[in-house]
Amino acid sequence: MDLDFTPAEDVFRAEVRNWLASHVPAVPLPSLETAEGFAAHREWERTLFADRWSVVSWPEAFGGRGSSPLEWLIFEEEYYRAGAPGRVSQNGINLLAPTLFEHGTDEQRARVLPPMASGEVVWAQAWSEPEAGSDLASLRSTAVRTAEGWRISGQKTWSSRAAFADRAFGLFRSDPEADRPHRGLTYLMFPLDADGVTVRPIGRLDGKPAFAELFLDDVFVPDEDVIGEPGQGWRVAMSTTGNERGLTLRSPGRFTAAADRLTALWRSAADPCDTALRDRVADAVIGARAYQLFTYAHTSRIAAGGSIGAESSLNKVYWSELDVALHETALDLLGPYGELSDEAAEAPAHGRWAEGHTFSLAGPIYAGTNEIQRDIIAERLLGLPKGRR
């Protein structure tokens, strides 16, 4: 048992750190959830891509470096340590790309992945519907077979980034006669500017259009944009939920970096006699370290031939609650400045804590609510009987 990095991994870390030191913008970009910020973040993706840092774990053919999972973790640690911008392409990179690597065709990978890596095409996830949230399998949007391909109709919602994104991927009911709700679904990709698509941005808690509703009226999708076999969409989609809940969507580097910043804030701002706050800062530091180590153990298990299944629900509950607790603590440390919005000129740290706090509040909800995750943990990991939801 060890926690040692190889000399090559140390070199990789130094290379990442050096590149970030000379490229990360000194002043944070405008919020990702605004038109101006979205464009700035897309530009940043191009900068990352130009030097092959946008998708380090992908094969070189698609713009990556073929990095190992551990190198990817190192990259993430350095990325967030450097205070680099949020990733506007993360839904595509972390959710769609793994699906294409597993279920896509060579043609799809060659066509979709490089422009995703460069930020030229930004992807949104179109899974949830007004009547299908936690109970995703009850979704009703349809995909109807035609001579030339498919026609999709219905309504998708809570589609992150869709207000400004270029394309979306999601699940559609292609066989209304199937005997079970999760059968007869098909996984499709479609452009958000196609005929029949109406995008209505939705303001999140602070009003920024972080997600959107999608109204789909007989939108044409060619066969080449079906991922996996028609009717097998549920199986295809579920292969990425482990990624979403597990390590790739919220890598430990985010939290170790945020915990370091929180510690610095505490040292500079806190009353040393306030041990209640001190304990919460310590818990954030411990929590971030625990998540980092848990992930190293996961990576080791995968390298030894293991896989992650329902265990990814443990991750989801853990990081999402850690993120909220960490940011709540930061706001408390900021005292009267804690309530300033990230748009306030006098917001501490360019509004980073305020933005991070707002963002963290969504964590226990998206990617499967924490209530659903706890059901999965109880039923699949602890073996408790299924009950009414």
Partner: protein, 329 residues
Amino acid sequence: MMRFLLDAEQREFARALDGMLGSAGTPRVVRSWASGDPGPGRAVWARLAEAGVFALAVPEEHEGLGPLPVELTVAFGELGRHVVPGPLAETAAAGALLGRLGGDVARAWLPQLASGKAVASLCVLSPGGSPYALDADAADAVFVVEGDTVRLAESHGPVQPSADPARRLARPLGGVVLEEGPQVAAAAAHAADVAALVTAAQALGLGRTLLERTVEYVRRRTQFGVAVGSFQAVKHRLADTLVALEFAQPLVYAAALALTADDPAAGREVAAAKVAAGEAAHGAARTALQLHGALGYTGELDLSLWIRKARPLRDAWGTPAACRARVLA
């Protein structure tokens, strides 16, 4: 390539201890120990020694196998799972203390600690620390560190019962100074880290059994015509218990690795592990108590031996508050 996982030998070591302790009937052993009869407990101790558990903290030059902090945490996980009584962490820490000090006292005691012939307790007197030596009445040697001195206690005060019936606390009294100097304080600090580490591992093992037994219980227990384990309020509490235990475990291994390497950050890693493991086990005990209902609130239930140990282990060798302060020190 990094491999942050137990190896096959370490896993086999855990399995062997689990099998041996599982057949030892430890709840009965604990009840004897609690009543002042350490006989059955010493018999288990001898079998643990035979399996090499106490030699893991003792350096090779003193007839030990160690120091091997990772293996110690593996062993203490099993000791916790099976709620083994006695000054376990204290004997391991005494091994670490004397191993660092060396000299005559090490030659006199370490081979005996490694072989299980002698059981030791340890008390590190410090502001805010415990004034008691655990199980001093059952120990063959009680080492007392105070500032720059270490002494071998001559006797002990009356036993003060603990919330955990298996923990018998007493103030060490008198004795001659064995060694004096700054090296004593340094060795004692290292010993306290070892004690905190293995206590964290022991707490996690305790928590795992509390969770397993409670899951078994809520699967069996029916109310309103269904297993109570099918209710979300019950499930979610158990899910949170598993989350806490699972995320504490790697902190314990990382702290063991830091101690192995004599890493300057080892104290912080140990403190983080102690907070997380202690809180996870304490939470598991509260969950076990709650989900067993009135049954959980009885001393007759064997699981009460685990429930009652969780809080003392959470506080022993570093309260959560003290450890959190240390994480940020």
